[in-house]
Subunit: 404 residues, 2 copies
C-alpha cells in the first residue's frame, strides 16, 4: 500500500497551480515529527468544506467555517498536527486567528482567503512562538513556487497514522487534463469516536461554487460517511476542497468531476480503514435486500462498528453469530429466518441457521488484507455499504496512553 | 471481591425452600468446566422475567417467554453454559423443550412450571445425550432436598467470567426474615454487544405476581439497564425472579422488597462491570444538571461505552477531552461552555476549557479499583448514571478467538 501511494506524493501528481509544503516547527512532542503544512494555490480558488457535527467544535473549525461563509475564493489551507486546539476557549480561538494573520502577511493575501485545521491532543494551547516561526517558513517556502513537496505536507498532518494517505484521479477534458488530488489523515477506530479525520482535496476543474459544494456533499455521502471512522464525531473533523481551474460550467464536467471526487474520497477512506490503529485488514460490509437505503446503511454501520465483529475479523474467525446478533440490535424489524450472511462468496447463515460450511475454508477466506461480509435481509431491493477495519490489541496500547 | 462473594455462595445464604445444583455434563468444550445448573423451588413460586430485546432471540428465550405467559407458578430454572442454543432453528427449539420435558419427569412437576436459559457459542446445536444425562443428575440432586450447592450452580452458568457473582439482601419483616438472593453471569464489554447476561434472583418475600413484576421492572431500570453491558442486546439475555414465600400483599413489604431487589441487582451489575473481560477497574459515570433524566441517561451511556474513554480509564489517563468529545456527539444540545467535568472530586474541565489541574494528582485519583467521572451539564436538575469498566488488551485476546 505504501508503495502504491508513493507516486501520488510526487510533485508531478498535483493539479496545476498548487504549492505544498510541510515542516517541523515544534508543536508536536514527537522528536523530529513534521507538524505544520501549507496547501497553497497561486491563483484564487473556489472552495467547499465539510465540518464535524460534534457539538464541541475546535477553534480552527469555528474560524474556517466563518471564512467559508464569508469569502468567495481561497488561497491556502494551514494545518498543524500535535495539538487539536479544541476546548481551548478564547485563547485558542485567538491562536487560530493569529496564525492566519501571520500567513496572510507572509503570502500577501487576505486572511479570509485562508483556511485552517488542527489535529492532535485536545485541551492544550497552541505554542505561539514555534507556530509563528513555522508559518513564516511555510510562506517563504511556497513563495519559491512550483509544486513544492506534497510528501512533506502529507507527513506533517499525520498523527497516529502509520502510512501517508493520498489518492488521485485525472481525466481528459476538452484538450486539457483535469486532476483531482487528495490527501488525508486519520486512523481506523473500533467505533466512530474522536480521532480526527482531515481531508484536503485539490483540483483544477474550474467548477462554480454551487457545483463544487454539491459534488462534495454527494461524494461525502458515498465515501467517508460510510467509514466506521465516522466524520461527524471528532471535535476537529474537516474536509476542504479547493478548485483553482479556469471557470467551466459544463454539466458533463460536473458529472465526471463528481465521480472522480468520489473515487478519490473513497480511496482515502479505504486507506484510513486500512491504517486502523493496529489493524490487519480492511472489511467491506454490504447490507442488501433492505426496504430502504437508510435501513441498509443503519445495519451496515451497526455491523461495521461492532467490537465483537471487529475482533472476530482480526482473528479471521468466521463468527457469523456476532454478525447476526449485531443485526438484531440494529432497530430494523427484519425476519431472521429470511436473512442470509456470506463471507466473500461463502454462505454461512441462511433461514435462521448456520449452513454446513467448512470453518477452515471460511477462516482462509477471511485471513486476507481485504475481506467482504455480505448480508441479505430478504425484505427489499435497497442496499448500502460500510468500510471498516479489524480490531487488534495494538489499538489498546495506542489509545490507553495517548496523553500521558 | 472474590472473598466478599464467598459467604454468599454458602448454602445458608439462600432464602428458604430453594435447592441449587450445578455439575458438568459435557456440553462445554472446556475440560472439567461445570456446564449445567438447576435452581429448584420445593414450593410453587410466583415468577417474573425480563428477556432480551434483540430481534434474534435464542430458543430458550422463546420457550421461557411462553411459560412465563402461560403459567402462574414455577418450580425451577434450568441453565446451561457452553452453548447458547441461538440461531439453531426448529431443532434448537426442540432441544430446549425436550430438556424441560426430561426435567419435568425427573422432578414430577408440570413442564410449564420450568424455565430455561442458555449461554455460550451461538449457532451450535445442544448435544442431546449429555444434556439428558445432566438433567437427570440435577433432578436427582435436588430431590435430596436442602439448599444444595449454590457455589456449583453459580460456577456452572459462568462462561468468560473470571469470578462468580452473587449478592444478597435480607431484612426482618413481621417476625420473619425476607431474603433476596441473586446470582449472575456476564462479563463487562467495551460496548453493549452480545455477551449474554443472565440473572437469577430468588426470594421468599411472598409478593403477588403484579408486585413482583413491578419491582423487577423498577429495579432493572436502576441496575442492569444502566450497565454498559446492556441487557437488551444479546440473543440470550434473561433475568428470572422467583418468589416462593407465603402470600403477603402489604404495601410496606412491596416497597422494602423493591429496594432490596435493586440493591441485589445493582451489586450484580457492578460485579459484571468489575469482571469486564480483562478489566482493571469499575467506573461510575454520573451525568447531572440535565433537563431530563432521559437525556442524562443518554449521555451517560455515550461516555460509558466510548472505547476511547474506556482505554483512557485503563491507563488512568485523565483525558477529559475524550469525555467532552463523547458528550458532544450524544445528540443533546447542551452548551459546552457550561459543562463541568470532574474525576472524583477534582474539577478538570470548566467553562469550555481544562482547569489548571495537576495531571499527576488526577492520574493517582483514577488509578483505583473504583473511580467516578461526573459531568454537570449546567442546564437543569435531572441526572442519571451508568456503571462501566475500563478496556484492556486482554479483552481483544479473549474475543478475537472465541469460536476458533
Amino acid at each position: 500500500v505504501r508503495d502504491a501511494v508513493k507516486p501520488l506524493l510526487a510533485p508531478s501528481a498535483l493539479p496545476t497551480g498548487y504549492t505544498l509544503a510541510g515542516l517541523r516547527c515544534g508543536i508536536s512532542n514527537k522528536p523530529g515529527k513534521k507538524d505544520i503544512a501549507l496547501f497553497y494555490s497561486s491563483r484564487p480558488a473556489v472552495g467547499a468544506a465539510v465540518f464535524t457535527k460534534n457539538l464541541v467544535k475546535a477553534a480552527p473549525v469555528l474560524v474556517s467555517r466563518r471564512h467559508v461563509l464569508s469569502s468567495k475564493t481561497f488561497r491556502g489551507v494551514l494545518i498543524n498536527s500535535g495539538c487539536a486546539n479544541a476546548c481551548t476557549g478564547p485563547r485558542g480561538l485567538k491562536a487560530s486567528r493569529e496564525s492566519l494573520k501571520w500567513l496572510s502577511a507572509g503570502l500577501g493575501v487576505r486572511k479570509e482567503q485562508l483556511l485552517v485545521a488542527s489535529t492532535g491532543v485536545i485541551g492544550r494551547q497552541l505554542p505561539l512562538p514555534p507556530l509563528r516561526a513555522g508559518v513564516r517558513r511555510l510562506a517563504a517556502a511556497v513563495r519559491r513556487g512550483g509544486p513544492g513537496s506534497p510528501k512533506d505536507a502529507v507527513e506533517a498532518i499525520m498523527t497516529t497514522d502509520i502510512r501517508p494517505k493520498a489518492a488521485r484521479f485525472a481525466f481528459p477534458w476538452q484538450g486539457r487534463t483535469v486532476t483531482v488530488w487528495g490527501c488525508a489523515k486519520g486512523a481506523g477506530m473500533i467505533h466512530p469516536d474522536m480521532v480526527t479525520m482531515l481531508f484536503v482535496v485539490l483540483t483544477d476543474a474550474g467548477l462554480p461554487r454551487a457545483a463544487l459544494r454539491e459534488a462534495l456533499a454527494w461524494a461525502a455521502d458515498r465515501s467517508f460517511n460510510r467509514l466506521s471512522v465516522d466524520g461527524d464525531t471528532s471535535t476537529n473533523d474537516t474536509v476542504f476542497l479547493l478548485d483553482n481551474g479556469a471557470p467551466d460550467d459544463s454539466p458533463a464536467l460536473r458529472k465526471t468531476f463528481r465521480s472522480a471526487l468520489q473515487q478519490v474520497c473513497l480511496s482515502l477512506a479505504r486507506q484510513i480503514a486500512a491504517d486502523g490503529e493496529g489493524a490487519r485488514r480492511v472489511a467491506w460490509i454490504f447490507v442488501e435486500g433492505a426496504r430502504t437505503e437508510a435501513e441498509a446503511k443503519k445495519l451496515a454501520a451497526v455491523v461495521a462498528t461492532s467490537p465483537l465483529v471487529k475482533t472476530a475479523l482480526h482473528g479471521a474467525d468466521p463468527n457469523w453469530g456476532r454478525v447476526v446478533a449485531a443485526l438484531g440490535r440494529g432497530g430494523v424489524p427484519f425476519d431472521p429466518d429470511r436473512v442470509e450472511v456470506r463471507f466473500g462468496d461463502m454462505v454461512v447463515f441462511r433461514r435462521g441457521q448456520p449452513t454446513d460450511f467448512s470453518a477452515k475454508a471460511a477462516h482462509k477466506l477471511l485471513d486476507k488484507d481485504e475481506v467482504t461480509v455480505r448480508v441479505d435481509l430478504g425484505r427489499g431491493k435497497a442496499w448500502s455499504n460500510y468500510v471498516t477495519c479489524d480490531f487488534s490489541k495494538e489499538y489498546v496500547s495506542i489509545n490507553a496512553d495517548y496523553t500521558t
